[in-house]
Symmetry: C2
Subunit: 527 residues, 2 copies
């Protein structure tokens, strides 16, 4: 609606606040790879960690200095103000911060009187002095100093006079930024706009105002944008909304909102197109899938299912999509399910370059209905969907045929587990029996089958499996229920997912594996 010409700085704290998310831990190596991705995206600041609070973070900054070659982003070390009644020049936290040798540092300061009095157990005057002394000391050491005003909104609502005193202490001593933090995440957009507006009027142009939100009311994105609307020009958040509790403000959503919808500049030219790839790559490094429903970057963000719409979307995408998915490196996707009508199947066939007549389309619709009733879910398995459609159009795989197989897992007397598979397979007129050990039944089958096939299909060497998930379809029966296995594979250029469903988990895995090979061999032949 508006078209702003200004810039908003992006400050990423995935590597510090983001890693507080439950269920994730990252090695120093992971953190270095993530920093490279953030630089590729082109954020202004990468907060790398809290040296001193976490020994891994000391190593991170040491290795970052020698190994990373950042071109767009500036690395930031995080710390806190000096301890109460202490001195800046013998404060361990400040010393560790300087030892990280970053040009920019960010320190957290208490701006809610309650926390000064009750958590720090000190006076408000000392609380203010802790900020003033620490900023002065760090600035005196040649650092650019950002100050995260912890609990600013809660503090301002209860004691605005102290919250502003704390903030002024940082400004007067030379902080380049004061970042207003909604630490408990309980604020709503209207109050964020009002309070940021007050602060903006109060400090004028002396300092850059930043915003740092958490998503406890589901409004972290809206709160961050409300702050920008009220004068903030620096937004802190994380990729994919990683972070403690409900997560930090999701930069993956905020950046395109600000840039595509309001006309602010957040990233260097040409970088927004990398958003989806960077989001997924970082998620993979942390072994934590991107939420399919995530705005802009999720796999479902531009996926259309309702039969009602599919034909219309084809005619006029901008009447059905709020932005061009290509602008963020994502794409429109048509989802095929048992609810799919003829038009959807036909469109999917066109997408695959398959010629399908009426009876073939009907066959696909029938197969989908029957198989999805059994527990298959083709929305999640593009590879198997393609094979199902090709089969309806006449395709029969002649690459190999498995006669039978057997898998044995033994616990040895020492407690070690070993798994061995025997696979009897035909390729054309040749019959082979291969045995292989593996670290589980599927792995052993995979290795045995490859031994048999590689002689005939050397191109299989490029195909490897990248993910394997098992889902229990009837939660009530747990280990005794029908299982659905999804298997993702790649040949380095193309990625595909196949599916298997069975009452026996080994059979389900085998079906998915067989389809994965067939898909890989088919495209190796075609390409």
């Amino acid at each position: 609606m508006n078209n702003h010409t200004g810039s908003v700085e992006v400050f990423d704290t995935t590597l510090r606040d983001g890693l507080q998310v439950e269920g994730v831990s990252a090695s120093v190596e992971d953190k270095l790879r993530i920093a490279e991705q953030l630089d590729l995206l082109g954020v202004d600041f990468i907060e790398g960690g809290w040296p001193g609070a976490n020994p891994k973070d000391i190593e991170f900054f040491a290795r970052a200095a020698s190994e990373l070659d950042l071109t767009a982003s500036t690395l930031v070390a995080f710390g806190s103000t000096r301890r109460p009644k202490g001195k800046v020049d013998d404060d361990a936290t400040l010393r560790n911060l300087l030892d990280a040798r970053t040009a920019v540092v960010c320190i957290v300061a208490k701006s809610w009187d309650y926390h000064v009095l009750e958590a720090l157990k000190t006076t408000l005057d000392e609380g203010e002095a802790m900020i003033a002394d620490s900023v002065e000391f760090l600035a005196g050491q040649g650092r650019r100093v950002l100050v995260d005003m912890e609990h600013f909104f809660d503090g301002y609502k209860r004691n605005p006079e102290f919250a502003l005193r704390a903030l002024e202490a940082a400004v007067v001593k030379g902080a380049s930024h004061v970042v207003l933090c909604d630490t408990n995440g309980g604020s709503l957009p209207d109050e964020v706009a009002a309070i940021v507006g007050d602060v903006h009027r109060h400090v004028g142009g002396d300092v850059t105002i930043g915003i740092h939100c958490h998503d406890d009311t589901g409004c972290a994105v809206a709160n961050s944008m409300a702050a920008v609307g009220a004068g903030a020009r620096h937004v802190q958040g994380t990729l994919n909304g990683l972070g403690e509790r409900t997560g930090n403000a999701n930069l993956t959503t905020i950046i395109p909102n600000l840039q595509l919808k309001l006309g602010y500049t957040c990233l260097p030219d040409g970088r927004l197109e990398r958003l989806t790839a960077v989001s997924h790559h970082v998620a993979e490094l942390l072994n934590r899938a991107v939420n399919p429903q995530a705005p802009y970057v999720g796999s479902s963000a531009f996926a259309h299912k309702a039969g009602l719409h599919v034909s219309a979307i084809a005619r006029a995408k901008d009447a059905y999509e709020h932005v061009d998915p290509e602008a963020v490196g994502n794409g429109t996707r048509f989802v095929v399910s048992e609810m799919a009508g003829r038009a959807t199947i036909q469109m999917k066939a066109d997408e695959l370059g398959l010629e399908m007549d009426g009876p073939a389309v009907n066959q696909v619709i029938d197969d989908l209905k029957r198989l999805e009733h059994e527990g298959y879910h083709f929305e999640a398995a593009d590879g198997s969907l393609e094979l199902l459609m090709r089969r309806a159009a006449g395709f029969e795989q002649e690459f190999f045929r498995v006669e039978s197989m057997r898998v044995i897992t033994d616990e040895l007397p020492g407690g070690e587990f070993v798994t061995e598979a025997t696979v009897k397979v035909w390729v054309g007129e040749d019959r082979h029996v291969f045995v292989a050990e593996g670290n589980g039944p599927v792995n052993a089958i995979d290795i045995a089958l490859r031994k048999a096939l590689l002689k005939y299909y050397p191109q299989l060497d490029r195909v490897h499996l990248v993910d394997f998930t098992v889902r229990i379809l009837d939660g009530g029966a747990a280990t005794g229920a029908v299982t659905r296995v999804l298997l993702s594979a790649t040949d380095g250029e193309r990625d595909w997912t196949t599916i298997g469903v069975s009452g026996n988990v080994i059979e389900a895995s085998w079906r998915a594996l067989e389809e994965s090979y067939v898909y890989g061999l088919l495209h190796a032949r075609h390409d």
Copy 2:
């Protein structure tokens, strides 16, 4: 901040728009169970489906009429306006809608001129007449009529005159509600507030204004609240934000925001406390876990990890939590991980009623560091964490000891898969060898072991497994990688999750299974 005294109606469309989410399908039985949950929560309206567009939904309304006994909620059937150039009294869609026999109906109407001209291929006058005729007809049949104004915000921005004409057509003919839909989900809170304000001034008090948002900008919650701030008194959304693409507005977040933070009444007295339970129950019915990061109802929403805070939170919860988690039926949780300090471990021990001295606490910290380095993740496995802590405090399980085991899976000549496990187990001085068939290796081991143990521990009969997930820890190696198995079990009163990690997936499964039995037996003895 504000304290409103008014009410805001809650209209749940989980069963209609929500089921457009990718990867979910629900049976009629599932839908009936979900409707019961929604009634238990106390939403005003439950949109049950689109009879006619989906045959399952005709069955749903028939069975709902005879089987459901709703006490708080009103069931709504969804449909659309009559077809272009058609007549209301021979329109199949309207006929199906009436056949659903609900007192309230909701129809979708086109309010963006582009969609009238290009999707319907008719004139704006006919577009307006389709709305007027349909509302008049349905109201004449004694129905209360809500009208979903599709693409209202996009339409209003481009042609406000037609958008308002469409809206007035519904109002004049007796619609009780006009619901402004952000169908493509691209709007931001400021523009939603401005447009809803315009509409509110335009139609005054003649009709209730509703809002229906999608989360494509990550602002569906904030947009819904902005609409309420500008005069809307009816909010449409879904539980857990289910819905096509990025999902519908999440009622699980909006309801507590409106009720706890702004003082509106959304649910009958005493119902908000059921929010977390209903959210999780519905997720389970749809076999789709609640996002742990979900505001208010997620398992991480009130989980605290940072060592920095844990001791402070214990002293003053309201300084660290934006609302009382009990208000929505959730609770504060302290998360234990390799980063946990002594205070966290001590607090967890108190929570479990375990006496732990200094060396025992140190032992726990060492064990956590070592095991999490190997791939364990105790945040997700409360049962295994408790056992680890008990072991550090001196506990040794004497319930049973497995000497060895073997699992064989065969593909029979007919293509059928059979799995058989042999388990050799000691209970006290007795040695047993049991064999069992199962639908996969873990199931077969489970059955064989139960046969051996039930004689000694009949209480095991109450323990059953409810979920089983397998995670590959090193994505690069796929079927050849280290796997982490999480196993959830229940004895009907207590739920617990245990974990196993190994290079062999059968071993990882077995470790989790063994821990699950030990936990179950331990608490059966204690309780």
